[in-house]
């Protein structure tokens, strides 16, 4: 780091701000303390899951129209 022999106010304030800024490591610790490490499922995950299962079953068990037409 080079600094002038007589820094002006902006340079000093920039250095002060840099020294006082929240370090990335501290910020990450704060973020991790708030956000669960293993994100929880949404509140509607069970109904969403059931809806997808039901739709899959319905599709799988529906007899296609051509097949119905071919029936005796």
């Amino acid at each position: 780091m080079t600094s002038p022999a007589r820094p002006d106010l902006d340079q000093l304030l920039a250095a002060w701000a840099e020294a006082r800024r929240l370090p990335d490591a501290d910020a990450e610790r704060i973020r991790q303390a708030i956000v669960p490490a293993d994100p929880t499922l949404s509140a509607t995950w069970w109904s969403d899951f059931n809806a997808r299962i039901s739709a899959t079953i319905a599709r799988a068990t529906t007899v296609p129209a051509p097949a119905l037409a071919a029936l005796p």
């Binding site: 250095a15 002060w16 701000a17 929240l22 704060i30 973020r31 956000v35 669960p36 949404s42």
Partner: protein, 179 residues
């Protein structure tokens, strides 16, 4: 359908966008680094709990929401009495720490370090309203308009107080201040 990982991504964007500004605000209010970090965490914890409300907002309204929470937390903390004592103690420590770390070394020249310590002393002497604005402008990187929106003050008032703070600092450090 939103998943936990979606929420985490939304929160991380919000956190990264505003963390420096919120931290700079608390640094100006309470000066104590530990307390400032705690208050940042509490502010964003509340945002996390209300993410469905805060997450979709545009950045300026997210900031306004966060600072409303932050101001209330700072007031609560101040009322508790801990903040004022911590502020006074921390400002003294910060000035001393700046002196200790700013001695001649591989990266700092002696005179430069001494000037930084003088600046720290001068910032300590600023009225709180000026110190908060100065911190938000320098460490938080916010414009006068953004600071005004965050604090509920006209941008002109913010610019005036920032100018007053700079004049006081320049006078304390025997520097010319043209702004």
């Amino acid at each position: 359908m939103t998943t936990g990982s979606d929420d985490a991504a939304v929160f991380t964007r919000l956190f990264d966008a505003h963390r420096d500004a919120v931290h700079a605000y608390f640094l100006g209010r309470v000066a104590d680094h530990e307390l400032a970090r705690d208050l940042v965490q509490e502010t964003f914890l509340r945002a996390w709990r209300r993410l469905s409300e805060v997450g979709p907002l545009p950045a300026d309204r997210q900031r306004a929401w966060l600072f409303t929470v932050g101001r209330n937390l700072a007031i609560d903390s101040y009322r508790a009495g801990a903040t004022r004592r911590a502020t006074e103690a921390s400002l003294r420590q910060a000035a001393a720490a700046t002196r200790e770390t700013a001695v001649p070394g591989p990266h700092l020249e002696a005179e430069y370090g001494e000037r930084l310590a003088q600046l720290e002393d001068a910032i300590r002497e600023l009225p709180e309203e000026q110190r908060v604005i100065l911190s938000m402008a320098t460490a938080g990187g916010l414009t006068s308009r953004e600071i005004g929106e965050a604090l509920g003050e006209p941008a002109g008032t913010v610019r005036y107080r920032l100018g007053q703070a700079r004049k006081q600092l320049a006078a304390a450090l025997d520097l010319k201040e043209d702004r």
